[in-house]
């Protein structure tokens, strides 16, 4: 493997000059530049990032730590991260933590060992104290945080509360007064926001909170199916069901089908997230879209802000981005029967 030294020798210049052309330092004369370029091509020289990283303390790689790429929410987010990273000359390590704090810690450690310039932590399980430790080593962006309120961090979030409210309001406009609600895992902040929105929505519309209409789900389709079945079995069954994610909404669709209920004529269903499946299932799911790809790109932007900042004074306040959701009207919501 050819090194810069070899290139220098081949080009008949010094090591420093080779470095200069590689880094586009303008002081090098055109003649030398050409000689070096020629040598690089001939020797098939490829710079060694390890050496560069050792010297410059920047690796041009970042870590993306997510719960599980296999969860249909994350591929698009990951793609957003990757595209934005690539544009900025960064390469990304993909890490799945399975919502397991131990794995999360391991990965973070490995990423630090690898001198990543930054880490994007999606739904982190670790706490503020640990995050501060990480920030001594590299930049950190938090996405969809559970339990960290500090304004000091860079954070990307989604307005889950408002989004859910919007979705429920549409259901209301369609004449629904009895609306079932399936929660996500309430450990997660976004789930709690969605649930709060439901409660506030009822209050605002002067509707009564009926415990029977609220079911706890766990994000997987089967929990939605079960919750949906229970809801539909009710004597006074809801005319619409809001599920805190699409997978569970699809479960509800299944439950409805089993009971020979026609969605949306007999029952309206609304999901959250807008995963691929939402537009592919039948009926197509009306849902509160999460800007998954944009979450990814926004996270990288925050990271780049820090990385390109000359202000190495770390006390700088964090920047919080809140991305907007959007209700995507498809087939699963219709007017309430009167």
């Amino acid at each position: 493997m050819a090194t810069m030294k070899d290139v220098a020798k081949a080009a008949g210049v010094s090591l420093g000059t080779v470095s200069n052309v590689l880094n586009n330092v303008p002081t090098v004369t055109e003649e030398n530049r050409q000689k070096v370029l020629k040598a690089i091509k001939e020797l098939k020289f490829i710079p060694n990032t390890a050496a560069r990283t050792l010297k410059t303390k920047t690796s041009k790689s970042i870590g993306l730590v997510i719960p599980d790429i296999t969860n249909p929410f994350y591929p698009e987010l990951a793609r957003g991260v990757e595209d934005a990273a690539k544009k900025a000359g960064l390469t990304v390590f993909l890490c799945n933590n399975d919502r397991n704090i131990q794995k999360e810690r391991e990965y973070i450690r490995v990423l630090i060992e690898k001198n990543v310039d930054g880490i994007i932590l999606v739904k982190p399980n670790i706490q503020a104290g640990e995050i501060d430790e990480i920030r001594e080593k590299c930049e950190v962006v938090l996405v969809d945080i559970n339990n960290i309120d500090d304004k000091e961090y860079d954070v990307v979030n989604v307005d889950d509360y408002q989004g859910t409210l919007n979705g429920l309001n549409i259901l209301y406009e369609y004449g629904h007064k009895r609306i079932g609600f399936i929660t996500g895992l309430l450990e997660s902040q976004s789930s709690r926001y969605r649930y709060e929105a439901y409660i506030d929505f009822l209050k605002e519309k002067g509707l009564e909170y009926d415990e029977a209409l609220v079911k706890k789900g766990s994000y997987d389709w089967y929990s939605g199916y079960k919750a949906g079945s229970e809801l539909l079995r009710l004597l006074d069954a809801p005319t619409a069901i809001f599920a805190s994610n699409d997978l569970m909404a699809i479960g509800v669709l299944k439950a409805a089908r089993e009971r020979r209920l026609n969605v949306p004529y007999d029952l309206s269903v609304m999901g959250c997230d807008d995963i691929d499946m939402a537009s592919l299932c039948s009926p197509q799911l009306t849902t509160v879209r999460q800007p998954k790809y944009e979450i990814g790109t926004a996270s990288v932007e925050l990271l780049l802000n820090r990385l390109n900042s000359t202000d190495k004074n770390r006390s700088r306040k964090g920047k919080q981005i809140e991305l907007k959701t959007e209700v995507i009207m498809r087939e699963s919501v219709g007017y309430a029967k009167t």
Copy 2:
């Protein structure tokens, strides 16, 4: 950031000793080992991989180059790669090439610059010559290759031909004689194998090849929808349709629904791959499952074989793994109407 030097000083031993405890070299005395461990903890020392890589020429990272993580086929494969890599102490760079040879080349170059120990190329677009060049720098495993026949490479493939044949035979057992076929992109080897299987199936069963029953698809659901619609519009429409992937099969489901055809009573549909959606759509899709996760783990195994091999003589022949498919019976296939 504390270095080994700092640790050595704090522990009152030499640099080499620190290195030895870090690398579990057994010659270090228990007393010193403890002193070093203590110093490491106190100084919160984290080894610097860049320096280690520079010295040892191994980075403990690998690259995974896939078409697009957003394609439902790949998250599971990626997950398989990651899990197997993690177990072996490797971290993985995720690279999406969008089936674009230029992006593929760029990523490969970056990966080499980053001193990856190996690269897993899924559906590579580059040719044998280029691959040989890469192999001068690091190990390479090919997955689902299009156009490279050489037995010299490490390759993971799936028995698409046999899998398709199995699927078609099941359709036949269910009484179907007129079976529509939707191809994938015929640039891809696996698509061609599936198509060949269809042709051979007909021959074997003494069925006539009817051009009208074969439609070209492009892997996305809409192409399946279009092809399905055309097929069902036929005067002598097929009683079953085999789609070369699930997304297109779901498109067929949609086309059938539009024509008020009941799947599987009026029409049987079989897909390929078994993506998540296949079990979530309605009716649930019967499909030829691809062992996506296992493809990932198998690729890493091949990589590890090479990496752990003492035989640095690169002339060693490659190893080809062919993974088995499996027909997953669900709801979309039924008996042909007589």
